[in-house]
Amino acid sequence: MKTKKTYERPLIKSLNSGLMNKFGKRTEWTPLTEIDGVKVVDLLNEYGSPLFVYSEKKIRENYQHAKRVFETRYPKVQFAWSYKTCYLNAVCDVYHQEGSWAEVVSRFEYEKALKNGVPGDKIIFNGPDKTDDDLMLAIKNNSPIHIDHLDELYRLHELASGLTKKPKVAIRVNMDTGIYPMWDRFGFNYENGQAWDAINKIITLNKLDLVGLHTHIGTFMLTPSAYAVAASKMADLAINIKKKYKKSISYIDMGGGFASKNTLKGSYYMGSDTVPDIEEYAEAITSTLINAGFDKDEMPYLYLETGRALVDDAGFLMGTVIANKRLSDGRRATILDFGVNVMFTSFWYDHKISPVEELGYHTEDTTLYGPMCMNIDVVRENISMPPLSPGNHVVAHFVGAYNVTQSMQFISLRPAIVMIDLHGKPHLIKTKETLEGIQRDELVPQHLKTFKL
């Protein structure tokens, strides 16, 4: 019997739309067969499809690189892992092993950090929603509390009046850095004097220990110079505190917001070509602080709460093609077994998606849909792909930040999550959700438990 040729779906593609078109670049079609030496297909066979995969190697490389970049430019640097970006315990633990503290914005995240073994004084407590009970816990643990609004400032004063020890606090400052939209929802404004007013209150009332100043100017910031503006305003506050009260601020926390190498929706250029390198953010911040006029022995610590830039490219989401369709206007549609329910950032980014199998170099333009019965479930609106058939696999890149924490349990069970260690060994770090697990917290009143149909 003669051996038969490998089959590929017949394709015809119009060449009129020009060579560089909105469907992306040739590099996108290169198959991704392995992650850290582990075959994608083996991972899917072992742990099921879809599947999140984190690379421990990439996480550590990113962290060590960022640390080196800042520490070669500034003497005192401390990173605090932004829990909301990805609070899978295994991922947090890698950052903690590397020396990162924790930055949390809720009681839930706070307790997660404590349970992970982070000492209380190394958990930075941000966010607008802290109850008295939360604040007391943070005070007891000596955690730096970042005050978001005046109501919180007054609550803290009341709570502190019954204590012998002064709670450690910082204020969150918002400001005009030339970036639109301005994040003025959080903290006290610099330009209108609110921030300075809060500082005066704290120092004069003398119930709280003002140890730091905090800002977070936005997320996915593409303009490093905005950080120079922010750092100079923070330094100005610190230096004026020193002048007026003879008090040194021990740290300036510049928050997060450095962009990852993702491609923002609607932008013509690929993120990997246009997003600033971490060196550029570091240069903007550190040269501003170094030249701000602090005494050499009183340089404040620089805290950083970098999230997405440290983890986005360490996370992958792999899945399987369910079906192909032709839409009424002739466009092709490909349906995958993962959608916006687990890939929330599809609303933000044109994620890079690679085929896994070698499918030839002819491509067709298609829309990638998720499996949900909803119009909004679009993974990529326009992408050039080799002819995918049901059963083929794809991998979405740069999904390490915010997707796991913001994923929805909607219509189907959320996938398992695996981390590949430094020796190329996969570890299950979260099992696939189960019906029992999801229903564990549900209660059905007795009178609804029986029915006849």
Partner: protein
Amino acid sequence: MKLKKDLAISDSGFLFNPSSGDSFSLNPIGVEIFKLLQKGESDDAIITLLLNDYAVDKNTIDKDLNDFKIMLTNHKLINA
């Protein structure tokens, strides 16, 4: 269903429609099917030929051939 008469296709998969000026790129199996359609082969004959040569099942070819013909229509390569 009949392909327009004056369409020119190269072995490398470049297709030109002189009456509209449109050009297209086809993958090898697309070229093969296109040429069979030009010769006036029936769907059944095309499916049998492909089944003989390729590692594929009948349902898949049937579905893909259908889809391919929809695309030819969309690209105005079929006589109305």
